[in-house]
């Protein structure tokens, strides 16, 4: 009863009764915008504390434990710190580009939230080319990084931005190909239909080995696309001090920081939608009782559970592996991931044509 | 090669050299003019083969400077010390950085700390002291720094 779709419908009905359709639409858009910004803030806080705790436990430390109960308010304190810090613009920097870059990073992240289904019947915009939209918009991220790196007038920033350009452009390919594998199975680009096609089982189980390979490829590619270790060459702390955001401070830095985490959330959400069934509960075909229990868990919990599991995996990568070198990074993409995912796509297409998947 | 053997061999190579007794290793005094040729012989002679210059430094004796080269052979495992006396007011000596590459850095250190001018050194600039350093060379005995007190 208290599901997201129920609340959304109630608000919609009340607004329709009170205002004319134009105003209803405008108010709904404003509400959605506020909700998205609110989600950003909450996600930033949660993911930062999650990252810090995960890293701490992996590194046999306690992690933040002073601010608030069990240190859970630590990221709040960090936010306050970042907000009151002075946002410097270097003298030699291209002022407009320098200040616009973090905003673009945020806008791209916001746009990406549109087609994601957070719960059953709860989606900002169920457009019919959902997956295509996501893979197009996510490639805009590189523009903000290039702008930041170029406009900083710092050689470290420039190096970081150039690395990032090469990296994101090449990893887009294998991310796209692994998404394509699932699209071949479903035959649809619309998010809601992709989820609906997984009612009988998630694609990672239904799609046999090709889906599994596509899933692993997808994970590696999105880790690279979001510039996270072991592919964090754009930042490469021990090589380029902080890479493209070396010169950023205060709130402008915070926007980049937030955009990184929101991007991680979004790619994990898409991974969860495509491979793990989105908000679809876990079903085992003949166990009716078990399926019933699973259905009882709200759809939003299924979605967030899967997404956060994937986020944990990406964090787990980060705190285990050393960083690759730039030429090895490109080698990995062009010599390993791309051929593997191409062959994989071929096999998947064959399977879809013959109807060999469940 | 043992101490006595080494002494005979070295005396053959450089007749003008004198030996210093009492040290742990064979110690030889060489004129600055002879040093470059002698160094090449030490490095390239198969029975000597001093290929490892493990210490290069200078000592300020107030009246003169003495360059001290500690040499070792990774093949024969024998060591020797070469001492070269320099004029304190105009210390000049040929570089050996093309014979032992490690000398490049050590000579730069000696250059700034003692003011020894190494002729034909490929890159004789300040290494440790800040750019714009003027005045005396810190490790000479008459150096007094009024700002950073060293003596207690």
């Amino acid at each position: 009863m208290w599901s997201f779709s129920y609340i959304a419908n109630e608000i919609h009905e009340w607004l329709s009764k009170t205002f004319n359709p134009t105003w209803t639409l405008i108010i709904e858009m404003v509400l959605a915008g506020v909700a998205v910004i609110g989600l950003f803030a909450v996600l930033g806080l949660i993911l930062v504390i999650m990252e810090r705790k995960v890293s701490a436990w992996i590194q046999i430390r306690l992690g933040p434990n002073r601010v608030g109960p069990k240190g859970m308010m630590q990221s709040m304190a960090d936010t306050v710190k970042l907000m009151v810090k002075e946002g410097l613009t270097p003298t030699g920097a291209d002022k407009i580009m320098f200040n616009v870059a973090p905003v673009i990073a945020m806008i791209v992240a916001m746009l990406l939230l549109a087609p994601i289904a957070f719960a059953k019947n709860f989606q900002l915009w169920d457009l019919n080319i959902g997956v295509l939209y996501v893979s197009c918009v996510s490639s805009l991220m590189v523009i903000s990084i290039l702008m930041a790196g170029w406009s900083s007038n710092n050689k470290y920033s420039l190096l970081g931005a150039m690395r990032s350009g090469a990296q994101i452009v090449s990893y887009e390919l294998s991310a796209g190909l692994s998404i394509l594998t699932i699209i071949v199975f479903t035959g649809d680009l619309q998010m809601s239909k992709i989820i609906a096609s997984q009612k009988t089982g998630w694609w990672i189980f239904k799609g046999h080995i090709p889906a599994l390979i596509a899933f692993i490829t997808f994970l590696i590619a999105v880790t690279a696309e979001t510039n996270r270790a072991p592919f964090d060459l754009a930042e490469a702390e021990s090589e380029l001090t902080a890479g493209f955001h070396t010169e950023y401070s205060g709130m402008k830095f915070a926007l980049f920081f937030l955009a990184e985490y929101v991007n991680v959330f979004i790619v994990c959400a898409i991974g969860a939608t495509l491979f793990l069934g989105g908000w679809m509960p876990f079903h085992i075909s003949t166990w009716t009782g078990f399926n019933h229990v699973m259905d009882y868990i709200p759809s939003s919990i299924w979605f967030f559970g899967k997404t956060f599991f994937l986020i944990f995996v990406i964090m787990w990568f980060r705190w285990t592996f050393p960083r690759l070198r730039i030429d090895q990074l490109l080698n990995l993409e062009w010599k390993y991931l791309l051929p593997i995912s191409m062959i994989n796509l071929l096999v998947a297409t064959l399977m879809a044509m013959m109807g060999w998947h469940f | 090669m043992q101490h006595e053997e080494l002494k005979i061999k070295l005396a053959e190579l450089l007749t003008s050299a004198t030996f210093e007794e009492g040290g742990e290793w064979t110690t030889i005094n060489v004129e600055a003019a002879d040093w470059l040729v002698f160094a090449g012989q030490l490095r390239n002679d198969d029975s000597l083969f001093f290929d490892y210059l493990f210490c290069l430094t200078c000592v300020d004796w107030k009246t003169h400077l003495i360059m001290v080269y500690h040499l070792s052979s990774t093949k024969h495992r024998h060591n020797m010390v070469v001492k070269v006396k320099l004029d304190r007011n105009k210390p000049e000596i040929e570089t050996v950085s093309h014979i032992w590459r490690t000398a490049e850095f050590h000579e730069r250190e000696v250059y700034e700390m003692f003011g020894v001018n190494f002729l034909n050194h490929p890159d004789l600039r300040l290494l440790i002291l800040p750019d714009g350093w003027e005045g005396k060379n810190p490790l000479r005995k008459d150096f007094e720094d009024p700002v950073n007190m060293i003596k207690l």
Partner: protein
């Protein structure tokens, strides 16, 4: 005395430095504050894209002129300053100085003191390598090993704290022996440490050594031939990774090293991975030495009787010891007084740094970090 330079950018390449700035080349200042230099090393790097054309070290940011300071300290006092050179192997530095003074005084060190000294040296060597391992992994972007290395290092520090009274700059060695006897708990705690170490050592291979990313980052990177290693005066693991036998403990044994069973670790590949493996295997050899000695500490004095005021006879005294980073030489010129006339510390880091330019040319900027990691540069040791 110090005048501000008139031209601020006189870091431009000198005409005689062998490389000129071509089209598309640029220079970056790597340090003095940089996450990968672990201190205040300042490298001016000439780059073409990501490829390194020249690396030029600028030193002196932590130069304290220890050599000059020692000229006004007595032979008992000057030892403590040397802990501040290579602070990670402070014991071994102190040991070298104590040996040099003993050589001048011709003091016979009691057997117990010798064993304690060797034990402490080897513990220091392990602690130093542990820190290197963690820091090097961190340079390559893996943050976790740093903390895991500190777990083991911390227990060594606790042992040091209990016996020597300090964790990092112990000043435990004095001319003629050691300052105090070992703590009654010492043997038990060392054995506990050995157990902990053996339980955890396989994790090092799981986390770092066997990792494919790490191996690709290390193998074939920073090649140094045996001839170059000798010519550049490299010592320690940097030379042994190229197959140059340079372990002073084996070649010119001091204390009781000639009676101990241990191997000199040699790798012939000459790349960063070889240097890495030398250090990892050296830790095992140190464990071997400690195991031989820990139950066989002879009874007796821990310090030889020396005069209150030490006076070295006129002459030169040179001692060489093997620190965790390579060969440390202490050259004392004495005039017969209570203070040295001149002291020269031949620090391993200084010579090892000089090879960096030769190694790094033509490789990527990420490789430079890996090379610096495997050379294990400690900046106060370079600057002195």
């Amino acid at each position: 005395m110090y005048k501000e330079p008139e031209i601020l950018s006189n870091y431009a390449l000198g005409s005689n430095s062998g490389v000129s700035l071509g089209e598309g080349d640029f220079q970056i200042n790597f340090g003095p504050q940089h996450p990968a230099t672990h201190g205040v090393l300042h490298l001016v790097i000439t780059l073409n894209g990501e490829t390194i054309k020249k690396v030029e070290p600028h030193l002196g940011y932590i130069h304290r002129s220890i050599e000059k300071m020692c000229e006004s300290l007595t032979y008992r006092q000057f030892i403590y300053v040397t802990s501040r050179m290579d602070y990670l192997s402070a014991h071994i530095n102190n040991h070298a100085c104590a040996l040099a003074v003993e050589k001048g005084l011709q003091v016979e060190v009691p057997a117990r003191a010798q064993v304690i000294r060797v034990l402490m040296d080897e513990l220091t060597r392990i602690a130093s390598h542990e820190l290197w391992w963690g820091a090097m992994a961190m340079d390559l972007g893996a943050f976790t090993p740093f903390f895991h290395a500190f777990r083991e290092r911390e227990s060594i520090n606790d042992i040091m704290e209990e016996t020597c009274g300090a964790r990092l700059t112990m000043n435990y060695m004095v001319p003629g022996g050691v300052m105090h006897d070992i703590h009654p708990n010492f043997q038990k705690r060392v054995k506990d440490f050995l157990q902990l170490y053996k339980r955890k050592i396989h994790e090092y291979d799981e986390l770092v050594t066997g990792n494919i990313i790490f191996q690709n980052r290390m193998k074939g990177i920073g090649y140094l031939s045996a001839e170059d290693a000798v010519s550049y005066g490299c010592s320690g693991p940097a030379a042994r990774g190229s197959g140059v036998s340079s372990d002073i403990r084996k070649i010119y044994p001091y204390e009781i090293y000639d009676k101990l069973e241990f191997d000199e670790v040699l790798e012939t590949a000459g790349d960063s991975f070889a240097r890495y493996m030398v250090r990892i295997k050296e830790m095992h050899q140190s464990i071997r030495i400690i195991e031989q000695l820990i139950d066989n500490i002879p009874e007796g004095d821990f310090q030889a009787k020396t005069k209150n005021v030490l006076k070295l006879p006129k002459g030169d005294f040179y001692t060489r010891v093997e620190t965790a980073r390579g060969e440390l030489g202490v050259y004392i010129v004495s005039e017969g007084g209570t203070t040295p006339y001149r002291i020269k510390f031949r620090s391993p880091g200084f010579s090892n740094l000089s090879v960096l330019d030769h190694m790094a040319r033509g490789s990527k900027i990420g490789d430079l970090v890996a090379m610096m990691g495997t050379l294990d540069l400690v900046i106060p040791d370079i600057d002195r």
